[in-house]
């Protein structure tokens, strides 16, 4: 790795995440100046005003430039989304908390104290508190569901990079102008479109102005730079920023700077996370190939530029409330960069850049971007093995995605064959029709599956509070068999999905009417043609994400009841319920029975696997029958992020032998430590979930202990596990290869393990950034092949 990259990486890692007041002030100015404008114009003006006045940075030795906020790894608030009152109340906590803390300099703190009160009551979050129905609010308080897009926009974007690179933002402006010229006004509908196009032009010009300011800065720095080589670099940076993102880039370096600008903008516009980089190796290859052929670029130069780009993505940070920081620990941004897979004709699409993208991460070992390798039956073995080698080294990058499942999912979601083959992850693992056509998966809400099981065992009453929290599904003492319990659980689950849909349907129109996100919309296909933002259903396809937490915990609990009460009859339902309510006090023998005698998901047990599959498939079918107000299809994801830990704290003891407060199963994986037959059995179980029905994907974490997977043979073993999982229709798998000793050592001496990257859920995080509880949870994930 070149010295520059080593230096840039170290500087980035050493920079403590910090907070800035700058945007709070600038947005306030814009709010005052542009108050009264129609919503799209207003939002675009706020965006452009920030871009025209925020601090721009070019740090020593940078090649790719453009910053999210005032300092490196610094984040500004978006008080139009997160409640300013809540931010203000939390400022001290942001600094002190264990999970994802921030530095807040005193002068910034004083500015925030002065300006935040002006924002009180102006955020989406404030609005949502007043518009969500009481039953939805109560379910949130009971840790039964979450409702998304309350503190952030309803957007996860993945732009049409190919078109952007071909037309430049000036081309987009020209299209908007042509639409305006061709539209005869005089109707509300026409004016709304004109407003959107004008807003889009303002937003594009803001982005171009931001780049121009960087160009001016680069020139100024070049003027005083004593080093000749750096002077040349700064002049080149200036040239890049004069050209892009206004005009189409002419070479690989310009294209990278261009893509960085496009990727950065949504992170300045809003506090959104989950903006994908799409099929990077596909849309960037033409530039790389041309430069290489013309002798303008060497492979090594390209590698350095890519690493500079990766370091920029690593600088992006989210600011979350402490509650959300625990749910999504490790400052995750879900910037997924896809490589490999098939092209729109169905042939292998891998190219030299696919390898280079991986090699850049193999060397740089950064938490961002997370690389998703699309695998299909004709994926070149060399590319696949390069990915495996990175896994074997413990980089936890890339994650593997299966074309064989993801393409049919994208067809089922309404994509054309070409769009489906061009699929990419938007968000975490969610496959979406590609080419910038999908406004994908804003989070509608998570459902605490195990809480539903608890409600089913208490006739709809939450035993923690004694309050009714779900429909009365009958006294479980009257249940005569497993099917009765499953029916009750499914009724509770449906009630939760109903609440999520009801709550989120209230949320969407407010984003539509008051908080349309203009830049993030115009880069998506069809928004300009339709003259509508993604919040108004402007994208060709719109989807809405819902998440099922803890399916394996629910499955094991159902089987525990079935085994203990109905089949072996070692205990009555009455006594089992009493044991659960007392957290198994005095009932350790019963708990041991539940732990060791009842079937468990994850052991290739067809009965257990069928219960889990039915839960997932029926939930998917139910949820996926709804549309939201913008026409977004609700899609289900078998995914919990790290919410399984928090949700566990709200659940009492359960009939899988789990004690009160312990975590739920992690994502689609079996419950920690309950898969006892090794990875092949676990893989078979998870693959049996009929994942093609679950449109927003199935997140499977598997951990191997490093000593079991050494050498070429180890590579073969990991490869066989991935391939067989994919042959059996698994959609996604991510593998951590790391030993407990290393993780424990990192807990003891975090300063020595800052670079240790783990996959927490659909994203990578620096292990030492994680909360202690989440760290413990990762260590507890069954490590296969542990040395003995």
């Amino acid at each position: 790795m070149r010295d520059r990259v080593v230096f840039l990486k170290k500087r980035m890692l050493d920079a403590k995440p910090s907070l800035s007041a700058e945007r709070v002030l600038l947005a306030r100015e814009a709010y005052t100046r542009y108050a009264g404008e129609a919503a799209p114009l207003f939002r675009a003006h706020v965006f452009a005003h920030v871009l025209e006045h925020m601090t721009v940075l070019i740090l020593p030795d940078e090649l790719i430039v453009g910053n999210q906020s005032k300092r490196q790894r610094c984040v500004s608030f978006h008080p139009e989304y997160m409640s300013a009152r809540r931010i203000h109340e939390n400022l001290t906590e942001f600094v002190r908390r264990d999970t994802d803390p921030f530095v807040l300099p005193d002068d910034e703190r004083r500015l925030l104290d002065e300006h935040l009160p002006w924002w009180y009551g102006r955020s989406t979050e404030d609005r949502m508190e007043t518009i969500l129905p009481e039953d939805v609010q109560q379910a949130r308080r009971q840790a039964l569901i979450t409702i998304g897009s309350r503190t952030m926009p309803s957007s996860h974007t993945m732009p049409n990079h190919r078109r952007l690179l071909a037309e430049g933002l000036n081309g987009y402006i020209a299209r908007c102008e042509a639409h305006i010229a061709a539209t005869v006004g005089g109707s509300r509908e026409a004016q709304e479109k004109i407003n959107f196009w004008q807003a889009a032009i303002i937003a594009c010009r803001g982005a171009i102005a931001f780049a121009a300011r960087l160009a001016a800065l680069a020139e100024a720095q070049a003027g005083t730079e004593p080093d000749e080589r750096r002077r040349r670099e700064l002049r080149r940076i200036a040239e890049n920023c004069r050209r892009t993102p206004a005009e189409p880039p002419r070479d690989f370096y310009e294209a990278l700077q261009f893509v960085w600008f496009i990727h950065l903008m949504p992170h300045i516009e809003t506090n959104s996370a989950g903006n994908g980089l799409g099929r990077f190796d596909q849309y960037m290859f033409p530039f790389y190939g041309r430069d290489l052929a013309a002798g303008r670029l060497t492979r090594e130069d390209a590698l350095e530029l890519l690493q500079c780009f990766y370091i920029k993505t690593s600088e992006l940070l989210p600011v979350r409330t402490t509650e959300d920081a625990v749910k999504f620990a490790g400052y995750p941004m879900w910037q997924i960069l896809m490589v490999g897979g098939v092209d729109i004709d169905g042939a292998d699409a891998g190219n030299e850049l696919s390898y280079l993208c991986l090699e850049a991460q193999e060397e740089a070992q950064l938490a961002q971007p997370a690389i998703g390798m699309r695998v299909h039956p004709h994926t070149p073995e060399a590319l696949f093995r390069l990915g495996l080698r990175m896994i074997q080294k413990g980089l936890a990058n890339p994650a593997f995605f299966n074309d064989k499942v993801s393409i049919p999912i994208c067809l089922a979601k309404g994509g054309t064959v070409a769009e489906a083959r061009d699929w990419a992850v938007v968000g975490c693992i969610e496959p979406h029709p590609g080419g910038g056509v999908s406004d994908a998966s804003p989070t509608a809400g998570y459902v605490n599956g195990l809480k539903c099981l608890e409600l089913a065992l208490h006739n709809g009453v939450d035993p923690r509070t004694g309050m009714a929290a779900g429909p009365a599904t009958g006294d479980p003492r009257s249940f005569t068999g497993r099917e009765d319990l499953i029916r009750a659980v499914e009724t509770q689950l449906r009630h939760c999905w109903d609440l999520v849909v009801k709550g989120y349907n209230r949320v969407v129109p407010h984003h539509m009417l008051e908080w349309p996100v203009i830049f993030s919309s115009l880069i998506m296909e069809d928004c300009i043609d339709k003259g509508r933002s993604i919040q108004e259903g402007g994208a060709r396809h719109s989807y809405t994400g819902t998440f099922f937490c803890g399916p394996a915990s629910v499955t094991d609990s159902i089987l525990g009841v079935d085994c203990a009460v109905f089949r072996e009859k070692i205990v009555t339902m009455d006594r089992l319920l009493a044991a659960l309510d007392n957290n198994f006090a005095g009932e350790e023998r019963l708990r041991q029975f539940l732990l060791n005698r009842a079937p468990k998901f994850g052991n290739d047990n067809p009965e257990a696997d069928r219960v889990c599959r039915d839960l997932m498939v029926r939930s998917s079918e139910y949820v996926q029958s709804f549309d939201d107000a913008r026409g977004g299809r609700y899609c289900l994801s078998n995914l919990s992020q790290t919410l399984n830990v928090l949700y566990g704290e709200y659940c009492g003891a359960t009939p899988d032998g789990r004690r009160s407060g312990e975590a739920l199963s992690d994502n689609a994986s079996p419950v920690n430590g309950r898969d006892l037959l090794g990875p092949t059995a676990t893989v078979n179980s998870v693959a049996s979930l009929d994942q093609v029905n679950t449109y927003d994907g199935t997140l499977f974490n598997l951990r191997f202990d490093s000593c079991g997977v050494r050498g070429d043979r180890g590579l073969d073993l990991i490869g066989a596990v991935v391939k067989t999982y994919f042959d059996n229709y698994g959609q996604h798998i991510q593998i951590n290869v790391v030993d407990d000793a290393t993780l424990r050592a990192a807990q003891r001496e975090p300063e020595h393990y800052r670079g240790l990257v783990v996959r927490v859920a659909g994203y990578l995080a620096y292990f030492t950034d994680l909360d202690r509880k989440v760290q413990d949870n990762i260590i507890e994930r069954t490590a296969h092949l542990k040395s003995t």
């Binding site: 023998r589 041991q592 037959l677 067989t724 092949l785 003995t788």
Partner: protein
Amino acid sequence: MLAGGVQRFSIADGPGIRASIFVKGCPLCCAWCHNPELVAPEQQILFNPTRCIACLACTEVCPSRALSVRDGALRLERAQCSSCLRCVRECYSSALRAAAESVSVAELLERVLPDKAFYRATGGGVTLSGGEILSHPDFARAILRACAAESVPVALDTCGYGDYDLLRELAAGCQIILYDVKLMDPAAHLRYTGRDNRLILRNLTRLARSGCAPIRIRTPVIAGVNDDAGHTAALIELLRDLRLPEIELLPYHELGTTKNAALGRPVPEFAPPDRETLAAIAAGYEAAGIRVI
């Protein structure tokens, strides 16, 4: 058939990803055995006190009063135990476990077939291990036939102490024979394993000369027992003589010690060779043109 069960994702007993089937009963009785619960042919009970929750349900069902409580801890009097397994059925925490279970060939097949795709992807299959498979001819033939019918390759893991004709017959249907040679010195072999090694070496010689299946010699490496130059030199000579290309060194590990304790036996005191000695042994084989696995 009494079997010690099936270990899936077995990656240390032959090529690829495998499932190992462990039979119970072995003619040898190696002092360092890591599967001591599979030596005796009859059923036994393993007791792991750390898992015991002292619910004492076992004491109530034991017909021969072999289980009792002393100083608050459960005790198992093995002399009185008839291995009826009633206690095991009551022991939900698995502190009391049966060393083996009674299973049919069909049941075993059902447990190994789900991983067929993994075998195929890695050139793996089923390994018949133990115990000693040669002590169970009918079972060995049946499981081999059943695996062949499902196109699952089989490896034989044997100590070589058994009937040659049976060995030859089984070997002909196997992917590879993992053949253990523990000690070359007959007296030491007798002392440590309870049996003379002449039959083992004779069977090996005949099998190798027959050429009916690839053979991989495996030898445990135990400090002070067989990590000396003499054993290595003798084994090299044998391998060269038989034109066997590879050897797998299995450094002693302490996995078996907990099982000895669970069987109520004194824990044998052996140690793995030190790193340098192991490296020197490996180098010795490599220098003689024998691949070390």
